[in-house]
């Protein structure tokens, strides 16, 4: 708290140095909490086969069992292990969330950068993006899925496409503000090619906002997947996913509440973790926003 206990660190090279987790945790606790929680979830999901039972095994004699040593969260209406299904369901949620965020970021950057630099492309594509934004995400995803039939790959695509407008708008606006900076003009003046200037001088400055937006997209994608699965148009029903579980167990809520609460709470925690990480990153990248809020 005093000046003495917090000496100003002099970094002679001027390079940004990662000075350890404790310091990050003190300054930006959200990043550490959200990131840590997300990392934990990913590890648990990836290691699922090592400690969780078979999520698909049905046992008609053990329907709607309460929690026990054998099945920690009890069993569902078909006698399946709720704990195993919840853990394996995390794989679906996280995969859909992360891949959709990556896909939306990639597509959004591509569209946004070109739109930021080419007025003709901008006029056409950004109007299409506006149109996409006016359609509710879930509705658009349902429409896309109904064109091909269910499947995880098409589900990811269907969730990614409605997310692209927000990312491409963000990137476009960042490009528009950076392209007028004198160092961009200076680089062009030095004979650099436009794609190189875009890559070296314009794209890097969009990364902070892109990362924050990706976190928001990721959380949104996880919720959309759960919603679509709940409605029966998402992940095929034989694959355990949180949306599927809540959907098939909701009739037994009074008898076996964990069949609904386990995936529900996991869903909430995962989305919370991603959102915390996103908020933390925003504060980390934009110190002014943080100061203003206080």
């Amino acid at each position: 708290m005093t000046l003495l206990s917090a000496p100003v660190e002099y970094v002679p090279t001027g390079r940004l140095r990662i000075s350890g987790l404790p310091r990050l945790a003190r300054r930006h606790p959200l990043v550490v909490i959200g990131g840590g929680l997300l990392a934990l979830l990913i590890v648990l999901a990836l290691a699922a086969p090592l400690y969780a039972g078979d999520p698909l095994n049905m046992d008609p004699f053990k329907r709607l069992q309460p929690p026990s040593a054998e099945m920690w969260f009890g069993s569902d209406n078909l006698g399946r292990d709720v704990f195993a299904r919840t853990i394996f369901g995390a794989r679906i949620s996280l995969m859909v969330g992360l891949l959709s965020a990556a896909g939306a970021a990639l597509g959004g950057v591509l569209i946004g950068v070109i739109a930021g630099y080419n007025r003709g492309f901008d006029n056409i594509v950004m109007r299409v993006m506006d149109g996409l934004m006016s359609i509710p995400t879930i509705l658009l995803a349902i429409a896309l899925i109904s064109l091909t039939g269910p499947g995880i790959a098409i589900l990811i695509v269907a969730i990614t496409i409605p997310q692209m407008p927000s990312v491409s708008r963000l990137v476009r606006s960042a490009v528009l503000s950076v392209r007028e900076r004198p160092y961009v003009e200076a680089a062009l003046c030095g004979g650099a090619r436009l794609p190189k200037v875009l890559w070296r001088h314009i794209l890097p400055s969009t990364i902070p906002s892109l990362m924050v937006q990706s976190a928001i997209v990721c959380a949104d994608a996880i919720l959309t997947e759960a919603g679509l699965s709940f409605l029966g148009v998402g992940v095929p029903p034989e694959i355990p996913s949180w949306g599927n579980m809540i959907s098939s167990s909701r009739l037994y809520l009074a008898i076996a509440p964990l069949t609904v609460f386990a995936p529900g709470i996991c869903l909430a925690v995962t989305v919370l973790a991603v959102n915390l990480l996103g908020d933390g990153l925003r504060d980390l990248f934009d110190p002014r926003a943080k100061r203003r809020r206080r």
């Binding site: 004198p182 003046c189 030095g190 004979g191 070296r200 001088h201």
Partner: protein, 335 residues
């Protein structure tokens, strides 16, 4: 004296009737109304005029760096080594930019990318035009920083722009511009954003480097003091046209255009005492959206007579290597 040293037939840049328009939704602005001038090898040409008279547009037209959206160079030639730059492909133009013609800008604070080290940015400029490896280019960057007299270049190459002062950043910009030993350096108000002492240092540095490398410099400024100190020949621009062209001694001794006279009168002079208000040129710069009838300076000119409002004066000789676009140039010189 200075003229004779650099005189000769070796014209480096020959601009003829360069005309640039800005096309808007409702109107077209004639930013450059057909200007012609030459830059000889190794000389320093000053380009002066008030804001919006077309100084920077001239520079950017030469380099073809104006926004393609609304700027059109509608006529004229820009001959560099005899080749018309306006005819070159984008690819050929890129090879000239930074390599044979380099430019330094007004804002040293923002002309360097804040996320890369200064050394890396200079090295990059080198690598664009040569096949130098990364390490060779970095060595060159260090050498360039030493050339522009930045102390401790070994350490400074790894500095980010925010770790440098304004003067150092402008030096780094100059290092970057000169890294490929261009034949022509366009300096667009390189000292405007700096304080007076640093300004003097930078001017001395540019003059010194010019001497050593033989680079011709086109010096864009609105500061007549800077012109007097650094340039051999001067062109004075007003409303997108050249109104006077002369070697620096003649220009200051006998300005032949009322606008030039007005500019000189509005420079503060210690000898005049301090109680007097600084004389200004009355009126404002004419809008370039409407065609101008007669002399563009006539509405503000104390010498204006009827012919000035009716017929546009063309640049004509009023002495040896001294030209002015004024109907009454001789009388103005005598005044």
């Amino acid at each position: 004296m200075l003229m004779q040293k650099s005189a000769g037939n070796d014209v480096l840049l020959d601009v003829r009737d360069l005309e640039t328009h800005f096309v808007g939704d409702e109107s077209t602005t004639r930013a450059l109304g057909g200007i012609s001038f030459q830059v000889k090898k190794g000389e320093t040409l000053g380009v002066v005029g008030e804001s919006g008279c077309g100084k920077s547009v001239t520079a950017l037209s030469i380099l073809r760096l104006l926004p393609k959206m609304n700027a059109r160079t509608v006529g004229g030639e820009v001959r560099f080594h005899g080749r018309d730059l306006l005819e070159l492909s984008d690819r050929e133009m890129r090879q000239i930019r930074g390599d044979q013609i380099a430019m330094i800008f007004q804002e040293p604070m923002t002309s360097l990318n804040p996320v890369y080290t200064v050394g890396r940015q200079i090295a990059e400029a080198v690598q664009i035009h040569t096949k130098a490896s990364r390490s060779v280019a970095m060595a060159k960057a260090q050498e360039m920083l030493r050339l522009v007299r930045i102390a401790d270049p070994e350490r400074r190459v790894n500095n980010y722009p925010h770790e440098m002062s304004g003067g150092m950043r402008q030096r780094a910009m100059i290092a970057m511009a000169l890294a490929c030993s261009p034949e022509l350096l366009i300096a667009d108000e390189p000292t405007t954003a700096l304080d007076v002492t640093i300004q003097a240092q930078i001017l001395r540095l540019i003059a010194d480097l010019k001497e050593r490398t033989g680079t011709a410099v086109m010096f864009i400024t609105h500061d007549l003091g800077v012109v007097a100190e650094t340039c051999q020949r001067v062109i004075v621009m007003y409303a997108g046209s050249i109104v006077e062209q002369a070697n620096v001694i003649d220009l200051f001794a006998r300005p032949a255009h009322p606008y030039t006279q007005g500019l000189m009168r509005s420079v503060p002079d210690q000898r005049r005492g301090r109680q007097r208000r600084l004389p200004e040129i009355p009126g404002i710069v004419p809008s370039l959206r409407e065609p101008i009838v007669g002399c563009s300076f006539a509405p503000r000119c104390p010498f204006a007579i009827d012919i000035c409002r009716e017929k546009t004066p063309i640049l004509r000789d009023v002495g040896s290597s001294h030209a002015a676009a004024c109907w009454r140039a001789e009388e103005v010189m005598g005044a």
